[in-house]
């Protein structure tokens, strides 16, 4: 229904003002006269999602609210309305539109008349449908009835969706395809041929669900696979920009343990926001040397990282000016940044101060607000609590959507960092989010729910270039490209050519309960004098142990702690430190010790303000290839030194011997408090099994970079899904891969095959989880010959690794 401006009403209003009466506005037709002008001259920047300068003419409310520089339209007063001033201004810095033709005098007059008439608007009219605003609160959708026994809530929701669209139900995949998919998705590894055979032979009805549970119970493999995902999302790495100048801190140790222990996601997020020394790196961001723009300070980085990682909110626009593309404002971005800031933060618009100080606040005040006057640690705790507030559905929706994307190949909201967009299935997203909260934020429960659904276990959708042309509809999971880490791990699995050393500063794995129970320390708490119970505040004690090893160890782990802090040096290099005596450190030592003479140096320091008890304890278990184990533990046989080494663990001149080392008499108090943890950490460091080293534990290298592992200077939550030509060149002739294949071929050949077909069978089972066809066997025979050679095996390995069937999780 076209709107006609009601002249009578306008005149009735106008009669209230004698001045207005004198210049009674002419009759204006909003729909036919005003809308075309606004659309032609203003629409490009100020309607729909566009709001340059924070000003939107999209509907009447936004028109009257105005933009960053205040109101634009004063109904009834065209003469004072900045909009009229802008369209008539001759100043190129002020005039609107900034480019293109000026408005004709006739059009300007129409707009004047329209404003003078009270800027009437057709009810409900908007230039573009208002942008979707996602709900904040969680919602528990009613589940449709299960169809054909498909009772998983995901299937109940998706089956109803398929039925409504009369779309076919995607066909289930066979056991082998499922096994490969679920191994790669949950643990990032190919199923080993034996495990695959066992799974295929299993006749029990619930074997798929059992496999999912078994895989998720493999804490080490789980942690070392998902480390990739979280390193990307939290931009953590072992090398990269910023480390060289100390402007960046890793959170590797914290993250690894959080994943291995499956830390509930709410607690996980709280520890990243209200950080500890181990998790500080995420909040602290990257501090660049020199001057950076106002939109790139570590405080602003904090706001951007918290927004993107936990909420799928892109605050990058709003860090500089009110966003043109979503609802976030400059003040809101600065508010979040100010939660982290320790000093005053002046708000800058496009790098220029606006004369306002940021007030600590957070993005969804409807859930509560931060006390801007509280000190920083308290503000961070408040932010952490608001983030994980039970009513913050955005927090749970964001992470379940990311996990859905990892497993199903496409987000329910997509892209996954644009959580303001409408999901293709509200019920599915809301159900998964509530399910996570209901299960105490146990992310493995989310993975189990998805992986045990019939939807996950369906054939991958065949995607063409224009499949999504008219929007996405669900038609089964989508194939995912192997990540760089998955590709490299798979090559290492098949070829047995994984390295033995890795870069991540972590002690791998998780000890068994039995190993912890069986662990008894022989170490004693020691100090430099007998009156350790009344050691001076700040007193330093340096202890040394020299010893000889019969061979290089195959495994060596240690634990240490001190009241109040320690630094550990092995063979003149710093290895570990700790300043919280209640948190003993598990330390990996095998790469630090050598055959022959070794020395270990402990520098301990007492804390407090007056005399108080001091002590330090250390124990290492060193294992050799022959199975024997040697223990090095603090006791009275250690020697004291008069002065500590420099920070690098070096002495300028040979250190002077100090007095005798004393075993601290009254150490029961410490042992009661941390005895269990000392045993646990030593079991952790010395007894855990060490499976194949994983690519996620290594620094980024040429091959992984070529395969899409990001530089992690920015958060990159989704990896490229396509292989490109430069990458293909590296796969064709890169030395890293060639060398691995060469090493791999000799290992493969060492297995003594009955014939080339047997080898091909094994390779296809391992790499593709299926038996080769006769045609494939014939082709393989051509390259392998009767008696496989190293070159033949390398070439077959390469050809199979290059198959899309291998490079995709399908």
């Amino acid at each position: 229904m076209p709107f006609k401006f009601c002249l009578a009403a306008a005149l009735a209003l106008a009669t209230l003002s004698p001045a207005a009466l004198a210049a009674a506005p002419a009759k204006v037709d909003f729909s036919h006269q005003i809308v075309p002008i606004l659309r032609e001259h203003c629409g490009e920047c100020h309607t729909g999602d566009k709001k340059k300068g924070g000003f939107s003419l999209n509907d009447r409310a936004s028109t009257l609210v105005g933009g960053e520089s205040g109101k634009a339209v004063l109904p009834g007063n065209a003469a004072k309305s900045p909009l009229i001033e802008a369209i008539t201004s001759k100043d190129p810095d002020k005039q609107m539109p900034p480019k293109g033709a000026r408005l004709s005098p006739e059009k300007v007059k129409l707009l004047r008349d329209w404003i003078d008439a009270g800027a009437p608007w057709e009810e409900g009219f908007a230039f573009k449908k208002p942008a979707y605003e996602p709900p904040l609160k969680p919602r528990r959708p009613t589940l449709p009835p299960a169809v054909a026994g498909r009772a998983n809530p995901i299937d109940r929701i998706l089956d109803a969706d398929l039925a409504k669209r009369k779309a076919p139900t995607p066909k289930p995949v066979d056991d082998a395809t499922f096994a490969r998919r679920v191994h790669l998705d949950l643990l990032g590894l190919l199923p080993e041929p034996d495990a695959l055979a066992k799974f295929l032979a299993d006749k029990s009805a619930d074997k798929r669900a059992k496999l999912v549970r078994d895989l998720l119970a493999n804490d080490t493999a789980y942690a070392e696979h998902w480390l990739t995902f979280w390193n990307d999302l939290l931009r953590n790495d072992y090398s990269g920009t910023g480390f060289i100048t100390g402007g960046r801190k890793q959170i590797t140790k914290w993250l690894y343990r959080a994943l291995a222990d499956n830390k509930p996601y709410d607690q996980f997020a709280r520890e990243l926001i209200a950080y500890t020394p181990d998790s500080e790196g995420f909040a602290a961001g990257i501090k660049w040397r020199g001057d950076v723009s106002a939109g790139a300070t570590t405080e602003i980085q904090f706001a951007q990282s918290v927004g993107q990682s936990f909420l799928g909110i892109n605050l990058k626009c709003a860090s500089c000016h009110d966003s043109f593309i979503d609802r976030w404002k400059l003040e809101e971005a600065y508010g979040l940044a100010a939660v982290y800031a320790t000093g005053k933060m002046e708000i800058h618009r496009c790098d220029k101060p606006v004369g306002k100080t940021a007030q600590a606040s957070w993005l969804f005040p409807e859930l509560g607000q931060i006390n801007a006057a509280a000190p920083q640690p308290e503000r961070l705790r408040q932010l952490a609590a608001l983030m994980t507030h039970p009513e913050n559905g955005r927090f749970t929706r964001t992470i379940v959507n990311r996990f859905w994307h990892r497993l199903m190949g496409r987000g329910i909201v997509h892209p996954t960092d644009a959580m303001q967009s409408e999901p293709w299935n509200h019920d599915l997203l809301d159900y998964l989010a509530s399910h996570l909260a209901d299960n105490k934020f146990d992310l493995k429960q989310t993975l189990e729910l998805i992986a045990t659904s019939a939807a996950y276990q369906s054939h991958a959708q065949i995607v063409g270039k224009d499949t999504d042309e008219h929007g996405y509809t669900y038609a089964g999971p989508r194939a995912k490209r192997l990540t760089a880490e998955q590709f490299v791990d798979a090559v290492w699995q098949i070829t047995g050519a994984a390295p033995t050393r890795f870069d991540a500063q972590v002690v791998r794995g998780k000890p068994t309960a039995e190993a912890v129970a069986a662990m008894t320390l022989s170490a004693k708490w020691i100090w430099g004098h007998a009156d350790a119970g009344n050691a001076k505040a700040g007193e330093t004690f340096t202890a040394r142990k020299k010893f000889t090893l019969k061979a290089a160890p195959v495994r060596a782990g240690a634990v240490a702690t001190a009241d109040n802090e320690f630094k550990l040096y092995v063979n003149g290099a710093p290895v570990a430190s700790g300043d919280n005596w209640e948190n003993p450190e598990a330390i990996s030592l095998e790469s630090k010790l050598k055959a022959g003479a070794n020395d270990i140096l402990l520098v301990a320091k007492n804390g407090g303000t007056g005399p108080n008890p001091a002590g330090v304890i250390f124990e290492a278990r060193i294992q050799f290839a022959d199975g024997t184990v040697e223990t090095i533990a603090t006791d009275a046989t250690w020697e004291t030194l008069k002065s500590p080494p420099d920070a690098k663990g070096k002495f300028k001149s040979a250190p002077e011997a100090g007095g005798a080392v004393v075993e601290v008499a009254n150490s029961a108090l410490w042992n009661v408090k941390v005895g269990k943890q000392l045993a646990t950490q030593l079991a952790q460091a010395a007894t855990t099994t060490q499976p194949m080293v994983r690519a996620a534990l290594l620094k980024n290298d040429f091959l992984m970079r070529a395969l899409g592992r990001p530089h992690r200077e920015q958060i990159v939550s989704v990896r490229p899904n396509e292989l490109n030509t430069l990458e293909a060149i590296d796969l064709n002739n890169g030395q890293t891969l060639a060398t691995r294949l060469e090493q791999g071929a000799s290992r493969v050949l060492a297995k003594q095959w009955a014939g080339s077909d047997a080898l091909t069978h094994w390779l296809y089972q391992f790499a593709l989880a299926r038996v080769p066809t006769n045609a494939e066997l014939t082709l393989a025979r051509e390259v392998l010959g009767e008696k496989p050679t190293s070159q033949g095996v390398q070439d077959l390995l390469w050809a199979v690794l290059m198959l899309p069937e291998f490079q995709l999780v399908r």
Binding site: G240, T241, I244, W288, R289, G290, D291, G295, A296, Q301, Q304, K316, C317, S319, I325, D326, P415, D417, A418, I462, V463, G464, K465, D468, E469, A479, R481, A706, G708, P710, Q714, V718, P720, N721, E722, N724, T725, L726, E727, A728, I729, L731, N732, N733, Q735, A738, T773, E776, L779, V783, D795, W798, A799, M802, L803, P804, E805, Q807, L808, R810
Partner: protein, 479 residues
């Protein structure tokens, strides 16, 4: 015969624009998208290929292309007297002088333009890596998205000139085993454009052939057989029904492209051993000289953008924090013959007119001033600043951002032209026509037929070829 006998770039651009218009799926993936609604008018290209000769580490303008008063080494001379440590020599252009040691470049200067007024911003600490990032991407780090390298823009917007040739090739810079390697990697990338538009890195020009050859120890016959085995396995794959999946198709296409390059005749371009001996000798002043030769061979065979560098390694090459004079004399030796020869060779082949050569560095140097005059940057030099006592303190040891020289040859720039001017007394700042990085980039983009306002949408935000689309080409230097 001015134009290169290869794909006319306009056809390529039309194709790309159509592709961009059709790429709705790419957008859904969150990938960058060429913004169509901005009325970007690409200028008419005056160059089809670009060779960036990168003097990483801070090439002192007063020691190269902008000589000032010469002060020979003398004990006890006040350091403030030192502006240049090399005397000026005449060039093929009347009245234009450059520094002694660059005689061969001087002899071809009538084919090029010197910009003497390039300026850099003050980024607090005058750090190489941040200025190098800024120079190569047009954006001051840190950025909230990974900014693409200049070469990646060429690759993304123009594409390859020859379909088998990678569009962006980076010669001479090691990215592993050198100081600040992570900082170098941060801008040696296509950033958010994706790896496809990123550099092919050839740190050792003499070894470049290896990069396009089958792996070491694999004879060509076996390499072809391996690929043919692969193709047959793909054909016989029982999961062929998935082959309609465009992700798989693109995977196959990429492998095919790679194999095509590795078996193509253009592969020979990478092999310096195929260059006639006497010509190789003209270039061979070391890795940099070999890089110039490689750049010529690559451009002859259809490369779009080649960067060749003297290599940035902290405290080596142009990063002269001591022994400046002697180090620079060595750099002169490295650069003089190969750069001059590159110009002559491209000219002799009729390629110079359509190939833009740019010689540039992240900033200049001065004997006294760190940064720009009045900057509070920490002094990077250890040399005493009062009087000269030792030879090792003779040189320009401080980072200077107030006036830097850039030299261009070919690609439509004026011949025998000087643009801009620096002061003749310290501070040697640009006093006429200052050219910030943004405008320098706009000039290079314009020569290549790319509007400086070209804009892509990434994460819903516009990202321009030059910051905010505001870079303005220095029109005066075009012929």
């Amino acid at each position: 015969m001015n134009a290169l006998p290869l794909d006319p770039q306009n056809t390529r651009r039309d194709f790309l624009q159509k592709l961009a218009a059709a790429a709705a799926t790419t957008m859904a993936m969150g990938a960058p998208r060429l913004l169509a609604n901005e009325k970007v008018v690409h200028p008419k290209a005056t160059a089809d290929a670009c060779i960036l000769i990168w003097m990483g580490g801070g090439m002192a303008a007063p020691e190269t292309f902008d000589p000032k008063r010469y002060q020979p080494f003398e004990k006890g001379v006040p350091v403030k007297n030192i502006l240049s440590t090399f005397p000026a020599i005449p060039t093929a252009v009347d009245g234009v002088k450059i520094c002694q040691g660059l005689e061969q470049i001087a002899s071809v200067l009538d084919r090029g333009t010197i910009i003497r007024s390039a300026v850099q911003p003050d980024l607090g600490h005058i750090l190489h890596s941040r200025h190098q990032y800024h120079w190569h991407t047009g954006y001051v780090p840190p950025q909230t998205v990974a900014a693409p390298h200049l070469g990646a823009w060429m690759s993304k917007v123009l594409g390859p000139r020859n379909p088998v040739m990678p569009a962006f090739i980076n010669v001479g810079q090691r990215l592993e085993g050198v100081g600040e390697q992570e900082e170098l990697k941060a801008f040696t990338t296509a950033g958010f454009f994706g790896n496809e538009f990123g550099p092919m890195n050839l740190p050792y020009p003499d070894d470049a052939a290896q990069s396009v050859r089958p792996p070491k120890g694999m004879e060509p016959g076996r390499f072809d057989n391996r690929y043919s085995l692969y193709r047959k396995l793909v054909d016989k794959n029982p999961h062929r029904e998935f082959m309609s999946d465009f992700q798989q198709e693109s995977m196959l296409r990429s492998l095919d492209n790679a194999h095509r390059l590795l078996s193509s005749k253009e592969r020979a371009a990478f092999d310096l051993a195929l260059e006639p001996k006497e010509n190789y000798a003209k270039y061979n002043t070391g890795r940099f000289g070999q890089g110039c030769l490689l750049a010529r061979r690559l451009v002859e065979n259809g490369a779009r953008f080649v960067e060749v560098t003297t290599e940035y390694v902290p405290f080596l090459h142009w990063d002269t924090h001591k022994d400046g004079h002697e180090t620079v004399a060595g750099m002169h030796k490295q650069m003089d013959a190969p750069i001059a020869q590159l110009v002559r060779d491209l000219e002799a082949r009729g390629l110079l007119n359509r190939t833009l050569i740019v010689i540039a560095s992240e900033f200049s140097r001065d004997a006294m001033i760190e940064g720009i005059p009045g900057s509070n940057a920490r002094d990077q030099a250890t040399a005493p600043s009062e009087t000269l006592q030792e030879m090792k303190h003779y040189g320009l040891h401080r980072h200077f951002t107030g006036g830097t020289s850039v030299v261009m040859f070919g690609g439509g720039v004026k011949k025998g032209f000087v643009y801009g001017q620096t002061a003749d007394e310290r501070p040697l700042v640009a006093i006429k026509n200052p050219v910030p990085v943004m405008d320098l980039h706009a000039t290079i983009f314009t020569a290549m037929g790319i509007s400086p306002k070209t804009v892509f949408d990434i994460e819903g935000r516009p990202f321009y070829a030059t910051e905010d689309g505001k870079g303005r080409a220095v029109k005066e230097i075009f012929a």
